[in-house]
Symmetry: C2
Subunit: 332 residues, 2 copies
């Protein structure tokens, strides 16, 4: 068929999606309506679901390869926040009309890149036509050693708070991609790198060993560092102090910040970082950082866990508490 023709449902599945199931016998080439997974002995299964929709979580102009990558990456990032190793995913697609062969080829190509990078397979799904923006809902599954899943709610007062990588790049990448920010003074390569952080989140799977060995609690940072830290506090019945001055920034973001192009508060509430927030006992902090570095991931101490009564305190660069009217992204 010509690449721009619209696709029949069965053909869409057979041509573009079934190849993503090759190599996982329990997926039956997507010919069944269920998949089967034989759990690995001594492991627990960690499961999560997240949807992305055009115009909400990605832009209509985003290349389909990036949409495929992102749909899987945002779910795998949840697994990374639990120190889980991805194994499989299911995907429900909803389109207002059948997509073109070109779009599906790009989308499936991005999924293939992502599942190869993350070590998992597509094992089932659902395809619907309905009004509204295209959306992709993925349920991802991974393994942890039995009883060892890192919870969000198990931080303890006194723990150090670490953040992986850098915060705020995706926030600026989104502003560049939508044209809401001109990015004056940035090179083409710098612009591309920021936009890539928005379009191609890179789940921190490499942190799993360090988290399992040294972490008390962990989660991925996807809706804004401050909002997600607040969720960690609420789930654990603890408070926290976050020092904005210590939040790790890339060289480019630090330059934009210094030039007054964005406020530190906006970086810490921006969303789409897909980094890891971890609470680590103080006596384990140095070993955690060393273990993370050995895995190729930088982690930065950004504050500490305190008693619940103290609440969540965000300290500005001058060391004084700042008030943040909007701590991050929520849908309603």
């Amino acid at each position: 068929m010509a690449d721009t023709e619209v696709l029949a449902e069965d053909e869409l599945i057979r041509t573009y999606l079934a190849p993503l199931a090759a190599g996982f016998p329990g997926a039956f080439g997507l010919e069944d309506d269920c998949a089967v997974l034989t759990p690995e002995p001594g492991r627990d299964l960690v499961v999560t679901t997240d949807a992305i929709a055009e115009g909400v979580h990605y832009l209509a102009a985003d290349p389909p390869e990036d949409v495929g990558w992102k749909a899987l990456a945002v779910n795998v990032s949840d697994l990374a926040g639990k120190a889980a190793r991805p194994v499989a995913y299911l995907m429900a697609l909803a389109f207002p009309q059948a997509p073109s062969g070109d779009w599906m080829a790009g989308f499936a190509g991005g999924l293939r890149e992502a599942q190869q990078a993350f070590g998992c397979h597509l094992i089932g799904g659902d395809t619907d036509r309905r009004p509204g923006p295209p959306s992709i809902t993925i349920t991802a599954m991974g393994y942890v050693p039995a009883g060892c899943m890192l919870r969000r709610g198990s931080a303890r007062a006194g723990d150090r708070l670490f953040v992986s990588g850098t915060i705020g790049d995706a926030r600026l990448g989104l502003a560049l991609a939508t044209g809401s920010w001109p990015g004056s003074g940035l090179s083409t390569a710098e612009r591309s790198a920021l936009i890539r952080r928005y379009r191609r989140p890179a789940p921190r799977l490499a942190l799993a060993a360090a988290l399992l060995q040294h972490g008390h609690a962990a989660m991925d940072v996807s809706d804004g560092l401050v909002l997600d830290l607040g969720r960690m506090c609420r789930a654990g019945g603890v408070g926290a102090v976050l020092r904005l001055a210590t939040v790790p920034l890339s060289v480019v973001v630090a330059r934009v910040l210094a030039a007054g192009g964005i406020a530190l508060e906006d970086l810490a509430t921006g969303g789409d970082d897909y980094e890891i927030l971890a609470a680590v006992a103080p006596e384990q902090a140095a070993q955690f950082a060393a273990s993370a570095a050995a895995a190729g991931v930088g982690v930065t101490d950004v504050g500490e866990v305190v008693e619940a009564a103290a609440g969540l305190t965000v300290l500005g660069p001058d060391g004084r508490p700042v008030s943040l009217p909007r701590p991050g992204y929520t849908h309603f």
Copy 2:
């Protein structure tokens, strides 16, 4: 808050959804963004995902209790077709605007009824606002004895084909609910029963033991008996003969058929039956039917599996092949 106020995302989750996770420790009261499942020894995990959207899979006028029930039931029906026992599900919600407290209370109530009937818990989810119709995407998980999942593609030439319950009730129920068919001559109770078949599918979980003991292949019938039988044939590399005269009908549907209110072909291609189609070796057929009956489910022999070269033949009441331009429901 007043019942008709719109809901904030966190409140929606805490008030209406978190109670559905009570009793499943690995769901962490939906406070984490992942759930954890400790697989039962000696079991495989069967997983499936299906979405329902307003105006596509359910009607805007359907009571929210029925929408909640149906969202879970259509997924559990997939598990029933594999002889799996449900254990847990994840749910991604998408709404164009925050739902009212009234709607959410009804929806969550229907989900609670369904999960109690099917023996599973909500363990995770995602809630998004986006344009388009409300939609509910569920991923359901269940257990089968290791290595025993009934596949769609393992029917063998010579097998008898069985269908559980009755076919076509939901097709007429949908026509009644949309007003596209007046249902002349039906009592109020009969109308309600047909509409209930559309709104409240009842997955045939009770068939699991009979399927595991006697079945070669199985699947649920959701998109029309003829279409789904065609899928079983394609997946298994076999053909089939379906005798329309033997397709099991409820008393009401048989009366509508006799009165010329609908054609037999439309009943066999109508969708939303959520019955089980099973292929059983001929020497096991009587035992299968007896075992199903002992479990409270009637099953009816509707034809046989043949060699692939013979294709799928649908025989009309006169014993001659009929041609069906539209064998069932597809989205594209």
